[in-house]
Amino acid sequence: MNDNKNDYAPLALHVPEPPYRPGDTPDFSDFEIPAAGEVPMPPVDAPLAELSYLSHDIIRVLDDKGKAQGTWVKNIDDELLDKGLRAMMRTRAFDDRMQKAQRQGKTSFYMQCTGEEAIATAQRMALLDTDMHFPTYRQQGLLFAQDWPVDKMMNQIYSNVEDDLEGLQLPVLYSFKEAGYFTVSGNLATQYIQAVGWGMASAIKGDTNIAAAWIGDGATAEGDFHAAMVFAGVYQAPVILNVVDNRWAISTYHDIAGAGTATFAQRASGYGLAALRVDGNDWLAAYAASRWAAERARRGHGATFIEWVTYRAGAHSTSDDPSKYRPKEEHEAWPLGDPIDRLKKHLIVKKLWSEERHTQAEAQYADEMRSEAEKAEANGTLHQYDRPRPSSKSVFENVYKEMPEHLRRQRQEMGV
């Protein structure tokens, strides 16, 4: 303790800043991107020690010319590719329509997943119907990957009389058990550990179902994320732990969640998990990585963490205006491109698709969503008080399996 305090300069708080703010010209030229195919695929039973390269390199399959490269994807059948592209396109068309509907005052709130369509659609197609996804509000792609009825989603968004959830829940916080789509929580991160519990249950029962947990970069700072990582590592739970790093959490840059000094995948390695970084705008990479992780889990080798490198192209939600905190051009400058464009190019290269068919399909899905929206709106929209609305009674139902006396009395007090 012979230090002399006066030797030291005053400390200062380090507060990370994003590289670009409104007014700046974004430039991602120093962003390191491995060439497509450069990062090899290990066997699913490889020991953890042999997987560490996967936590900093980025797994990529589609190159700039639209060709699939490397060991991650071998024989993907054409039908799947077509399905993938259509799922992404329909997701985007749906988002566009619902965004408009919110602007028109037909509901309270909406959240798009623009730019992130590859991740959820590909993962859903790589998993089985008996698996369970624990999505955030930005994984609607899971539903389009299985052609889930659009009207069910729209009725929920409009909180109308046909909404399965009877208007009780905020728009986009869907619950579709049959679709393997867990009831979405408005509280960030809580479902990450629940997904691990679900996977543990499958192992306890000796089943072969796996769970997929979803979270954003920002929400990884929550305690439930940590709990999930610890439990998944300790019990080698059959789960896929997805982090969608779209670089923004509302107005907050991902460096405030710690992305500035280590990758999320590196963090995951410290929990004894297999951890991949994947180009989230590359549908083939997304599919291949999800397949690998699913196979690894289902074969009893434990949990895989996947960091999806992507960018939130749109606003956080209809309540948000990103031009207030990031350059409008940032998305354009972002080097991993658009997931739909990239898969489209691949399909064109493979002669399975064309610009014309694409334009046609865009129009078709826009039409579909318009007419679906009209049908759903015929069931009512949120603020229409002169139309039949979801029942008031339902507020008292499902609080418990059986309604206790005090709720019965309150329902009476409400007069329904």
């Binding site: 009780l168 829940q169 619950s175 009831t183 550990i193 439930d224 999930a228 610890v230 439990f231 005090h406």
Partner: protein, 345 residues
């Protein structure tokens, strides 16, 4: 409660709780048990001793020290179809799990319109009387009763503990199961200077072997009386008994057993009969569960009340260590309230 032919065994509350686990794990392979030190060792209070050996590591196991992890994982398991019965080592340590309990488990059924449910039990030792200081003595029941979707149960005898825990595990909604730790080894009436009484000396220490249940939502009338209704639960039930005895006030004592859903009928009937009411609990007073009880009594029995309803509770301070008996609402304070409520108009 059970007829003469029922085979019984003398148990303390720990043994009764362990037995409830055993009965349910035997009957239903979906029942799984976990928590900190719960597996190999069988829990710091030994409430899960022997379960891992009997049912294997995948049905009774140790967890990381993460209460939110324990409850969060249980929610996921319950959604899968299991019936987790988990232990939080002390109720004082449930706070990191409060989000998972109140925002997740409690609302899963509601927000999914019954598609997903959380049939799970969260056990936790509660209350003071063991010199545990502020971090091993709290009584957080009011923090659960304020939350729609939860049931809150608090037994005070081995017999009730087993029957209620079985009901809790069988229940299709999340149940908070509070175990008054001062009662684990024997009834305790607050006379800390008198010899410890074991459960073997108390009739409710005779516990039926095998399966039985006590329905949630039903209070027990511990003592009939005509002067005043005492609403109590947990350790306070025994304090109420001894206070009635010592003051000679002819109190009707209700052990609520389930705080939510509450046995409204039993409360209303009794207060309408006696016209007076004393409410006792160990938790801090302000916004304690006593406030709700008082409100219910006032709302539904106003015209029968002959005196103000009184609350005897822990003080609105953290639970102190050396001053345990100045904090604990013992027979003296309860007795004074009984007398005071009888003196009133």
């Amino acid at each position: 409660m059970f007829d003469d032919k029922t085979e019984t065994k003398t148990m303390n509350m720990i043994e009764a709780i362990r037995d409830a686990h055993d009965v349910m794990m035997e009957r239903d392979s979906n029942v799984v048990v976990f928590g900190e030190d719960v597996g190999y060792f069988g829990g710091v209070f030994r409430c899960t001793a022997g379960l891992q050996e009997k049912y294997g590591k995948s049905r009774a196991f140790d967890t990381p020290i993460s209460e939110n992890g324990i409850v969060g994982a249980a929610v996921g398991m319950a959604a899968y179809g299991l019936r987790p019965c988990v232990e939080v080592q002390f109720a004082d340590y449930m706070f990191p799990a409060y989000d998972q309990i109140t925002q997740e488990a409690a609302r899963l059924r509601f927000r999914s319109k019954g598609q997903f449910t959380a049939p799970m039990t969260i056990r936790m030792p509660t209350g003071g009387g063991i010199f545990g200081g502020m971090t091993h003595s709290q009584s957080p029941e009011a923090l659960f009763t304020h939350v729609a979707g939860l049931k809150t149960v608090i037994p005070c005898t081995p017999y009730d503990a087993k029957g209620l825990l079985i009901s809790a595990i069988e229940d299709d909604d999340p149940v908070i199961f509070l175990e008054p730790k001062r009662l684990y080894n024997g009834p305790f009436d607050g006379h800390h200077d008198r010899p410890v009484v074991p459960w073997s000396k108390h009739p409710a220490g005779e516990v039926p072997v095998g399966y039985y249940n006590i329905p949630l939502g039903k209070a027990a009338t511990i003592r009939e009386g005509s002067d005043v209704t005492v609403l109590a639960y947990g350790t306070m039930r025994f304090v109420a008994e001894v206070a009635a005895e010592e003051t000679g006030v002819d109190a009707e004592i209700l052990d609520l057993r389930t705080l939510l859903p509450l046995d409204l009928e039993a409360i209303e009937q009794s207060v309408r009969k006696t016209g007076r009411c004393v409410i006792i609990h160990e938790a801090t007073r302000t916004s304690g569960f006593g406030a709700e009880l008082l409100s219910i009594v006032q709302e539904s029995c106003f015209y029968h009340l002959e005196a103000p309803v009184m609350r005897v509770t822990g003080w609105d301070t953290p639970y102190p260590h050396a001053q345990e008996w100045e904090y604990f609402p013992g027979p003296k304070r309860v007795g004074e309230a009984l007398k005071k409520v009888m003196e009133a108009a």
